[in-house]
């Protein structure tokens, strides 16, 4: 079966590449432009994996992560946080609110794909 992956990022320029990459890998790709959309999409579409940007207008990626972990129905969604916040305090916060993995921008797409495959395996 094909996995459903949600890309939640407000930067269209990164979404373009991520979407292309995920589709090429054969996943079904959903896109959310901000935190609220992302949370709705997770509840509605039940993706297996979310590539979640930490800094989005309105609801931040950290907030989304907390809400997902608090919601019994979608609690097990795997979350990979992709963010430009690179301070170790930010990484700690990401892991603390329940992200399964945390990658700091910029990243190599090869590493990202490997991580995605591992998390979906």
């Amino acid at each position: 079966m094909s996995f459903k992956v949600l890309i939640a990022d407000d930067e269209p320029n990164i979404v373009v590449s991520l979407e292309f990459m995920m589709k090429r890998e054969g996943y079904e790709v959903l896109v959310a432009r901000d935190g609220r959309q992302a949370l709705e999409a997770i509840r509605r579409e039940r993706p297996q994996l979310v590539l979640l940007d930490a800094m989005m207008p309105g609801m931040s990626g950290f907030d989304v992560c907390e809400a997902v972990r608090a919601d019994g129905a979608v609690r097990d969604t795997r979350i990979l946080m992709l963010t430009a916040k690179g301070r170790d305090t930010d990484v700690a916060r990401g892991v603390g609110v329940g992200a399964d993995a945390y990658m700091t921008k910029p990243f190599s797409t090869r590493d990202l794909m490997q991580k995605v495959r591992d998390m979906l395996a």
Binding site: E11, N13, I14, V16, F20, P106, S108, T109
Partner: protein
């Protein structure tokens, strides 16, 4: 001559005793006779009494007189003389400076007098020694205090010393300037409502904050910290939104082993600007990092995608567009950042504010001394305030000038200073037909050497130290060459220059270390121990109820019996009505002077802050108080502290004088008034009069505030209505 009863008794006693003795002998003789013999004696003596009776009486009288004379001599020698000696000695006991005793009486008495004089002399010498030592010691202490005060005044950091009650007993000029900036009423009081001798530091800092810092210090000392070096640091905000970094060091007597605190020293830095600059920079840095990460991520991902060989043409175009987008977004960000921070890129070198004219004058002197060449400085805007490191800058100018003089065959030199936008151009100019750039090579970047003095800096370093620039220009048409320094103008208002000859304001009073309210009610406190605000108002007229208004408030402070001329309140007030022509000669305030000044509703809170914790003093103060009272509603400020009136106090001291107006009292008490009928001038005169009245009141047994108020109330003048 004084009648001495005891001397009389002493002189009469021997005669009386002799008479009694003779009479007793006669009676006893008579009793040994039988009746026949007694009758025979009576018959024999009886007829003789009338004719010869006077003889034995005269005989006795002579004996009595002789005895009286002897008794008198004895009395004078052994009773009166010692008593006189004792009295004179008692005078000596009471007064060290009393003259020596005059020796009188017999040899023994003279001997005794000499001995007493010797003792008194020894004591006098001892006393003089003691007095001299005390005088020397206190002069030494006074000198040290003055030196400390002078040192503090020149310190570049704000210093405030407080006793344990938080009362300020020393502050320096810097602190005064700092508090002027912190003041929310910078006009009239100029920070004097916050900082002043005897004022509470808790008006500025939270009491709990100071207590916490003191505890921290105590704990460190208890843990074995060196009491001399322990200090506590904290950063705090002020009501006016400033951020202060405070370093507190305890004050304790040096002598004893584990002495208790007697006060504390606060070193203050206003770090508001610094902190804002830092946090702005941090924020910019963080934003830049995060935005760059995001951009690089997008670019990297897009480039990775472009590596796929099987991309369709429009997919390839899309990823190229991503890269182009992000590159231009990053350039835009960097441009914006560079524009925003160019002002901030300071080398953090402390620059001093200096008047352009002074800088040029100093540079000219230096260059003329170094080169022996006259320097013209006619095109100088001497009114510009510059932010400069004057030493390094003058060194750079002197270095360039000496090189120019060597290389160009002693041309005429000229210095020019002019404003250029928000910076200044400082030019060193000389006449030269052509530029000869090869001659100038290395002048700007090499280490400066003038004569034997070699500086580690280059001319360029000096320019960069000012966040400025330096370059060489040649004007072919005028045949002039010049080096141009681009220098920063002074930021903000230059600090008020201290004019020489200023009396040094009272910035310290160490007697306040011991001062303590001791929990006594104000009315029971001694007049000398109370802090006063002496004030005067100028008004448009005499009838507040009929629309007359205050147009000026002037005030000064008395703390610990000293007039603090440096801590004044001087504020013109916009009466929001016309000023009658007739009143202008009295107060000298014209309508133009009060235009744009704050209204009484704004000034009253500032004045209340200035007068907080003090007793108000004024001359005929009921008049001023009526004006203030009428403004309670509009300003929301009440003056409910005790009030003393120098007019009433003067009438207490001199009830029989006809006039108690300020000039009359001042003349009587030897106070010279300058600046009569200006707010501060009258307040200062009233304060001096008040200080002269205090000892006169003391002579009348009026010691406390309560007694003074009572006496004033009873005085004749208080019964008149104003």
């Amino acid at each position: 001559m004084k009648f001495d009863r005891r001397l009389m008794l002493v002189m009469l006693a021997p005669g009386a005793a002799l008479a009694a003795w003779l009479a007793l002998g006669g009676v006893l003789l008579r009793m040994t006779l039988d009746p026949a013999q007694r009758a025979g004696v009576d018959a024999a003596i009886g007829p003789l009494v009338a004719s010869h009776g006077v003889l034995p009486v005269a005989w006795w009288l002579i004996a009595a007189a002789l005895a009286a004379w002897a008794a008198g001599r004895l009395y004078a020698a052994h009773v009166a003389a010692p008593a006189r000696l004792a009295d004179a000695t008692r005078v000596l006991i009471g007064d060290v400076a009393a003259p020596d005793l005059v020796p009188r009486g017999g040899a023994a008495a003279r001997d005794l007098t000499a001995a007493i004089n010797g003792l008194a002399g020894t004591r006098r010498a001892l006393h003089e020694d003691m007095a001299r030592l005390v005088a020397e010691a206190s002069q030494g202490v006074a000198e040290q205090r003055d030196q400390l005060g002078a040192l503090m005044a020149e310190l570049n950091q704000s210093v405030v010393v407080c006793n344990l009650d938080g009362r300020i007993l020393l502050y320096n000029r810097r602190a005064r300037q700092l508090f002027r900036r912190l003041s929310r009423t910078p006009q009239g009081a100029g920070g004097a409502e916050l900082i002043g001798l005897g004022r509470s530091i808790y008006g500025v800092f939270d009491r709990a904050l100071i207590a916490h810092a003191l505890e921290t210090v105590d704990r460190r000392i208890a843990r074995g910290g060196d009491a001399a070096t322990v200090s506590a640091r904290f950063v705090t905000g002020t009501p006016a939104g400033h951020l202060l970094r405070v370093s507190m060091a305890p004050v304790r007597p040096a002598a004893s082993d584990r002495p208790a605190l007697t006060g504390f020293v606060l070193l203050l830095d206003d770090i508001t600007d610094e902190y804002e600059a830092h946090s702005r920079r941090d924020r910019q840095l963080l934003e830049l990092t995060e935005a760059s990460r995001a951009s690089f991520a997008s670019m990297q991902a897009a480039l990775d995608m472009l590596d796929y060989p099987d991309l369709a043409a429009e997919e390839r175009d899309r990823f190229h567009k991503v890269v182009r987008d992000e590159v231009s977004a990053m350039s835009a960000r960097l441009t914006a950042l560079a524009a925003g921070t160019s002002q901030d890129l300071m080398t953090r070198w402390p620059l001093q504010e200096m008047l352009g004219g002074d800088l040029v004058a100093a540079a000219v002197t230096r260059i003329e001394a170094d080169t022996g060449q006259r320097v013209a400085s006619d095109k100088v805007d001497g009114t510009l305030w510059l932010g400069v490191d004057s030493f390094a800058l003058i060194q750079a100018l002197a270095f360039l000038a000496s090189r120019v003089v060597e290389a160009f065959d002693r041309p005429d030199l000229r210095i020019r200073l002019a404003q250029a936008g928000n910076r200044a151009h400082l030019d060193l100019i000389w006449a030269a037909e052509d530029a000869r750039p090869e001659t100038l090579a290395g002048w700007q970047t090499g280490a400066m050497q003038v004569g034997d003095a070699r500086s580690p800096l280059s001319v360029r370093d000096v320019a960069e130290r000012h966040c400025g620039e330096v370059w060489f220009e040649h004007d072919r048409s005028l045949a002039l060459s010049f080096f141009r320094f681009l220098l920063p103008l002074a930021t903000g208002e230059p600090a008020a220059a201290v004019t020489p000859g200023d009396t040094r304001p009272e910035y310290y009073d160490f007697d306040l270390f011991a001062a303590s309210e001791g929990g006594r009610a104000l009315d029971e406190r001694l007049l000398e121990d109370i802090a006063y605000t002496v004030f005067d108002t100028e008004t448009t007229g005499l009838h507040p109820a009929h629309g007359d208004e205050i147009i000026q408030i002037g005030a000064t402070r008395i703390v610990n019996g000293k007039l603090l001329r440096g801590e004044c309140f001087d504020q013109l007030v916009d009466p929001q009505r016309s000023i009658p022509e007739a009143s202008i000669p009295i107060h000298g305030i014209r309508p133009a002077m009060v235009r744009g000044k704050p209204s009484i509703a704004e000034v009253m809170p500032a004045f209340r802050a200035f007068a907080s914790d003090t007793v108000l003093v004024g001359h005929n103060v009921a008049f001023d108080m009526r004006f203030l009272k009428l403004k309670e509603a509009v300003s929301g400020v009440r003056f409910d502290q005790p009030v003393l009136d120098t007019l009433l106090l003067s009438s207490v001291v001199h009830p029989n004088e006809a006039s108690h107006d300020l000039e009359a009292i001042a003349a009587r008490l030897g106070v010279t008034i300058s600046g009569r009928h200006t707010g501060v001038g009258d307040a200062l005169a009233t304060a001096e009069v008040f200080l002269k009245l205090l000892p006169l009141l003391r002579e009348q047994g009026i010691l406390t505030l309560g007694q003074a108020r009572e006496a004033a109330q009873k005085s004749y003048y208080s019964r008149l209505r104003y």
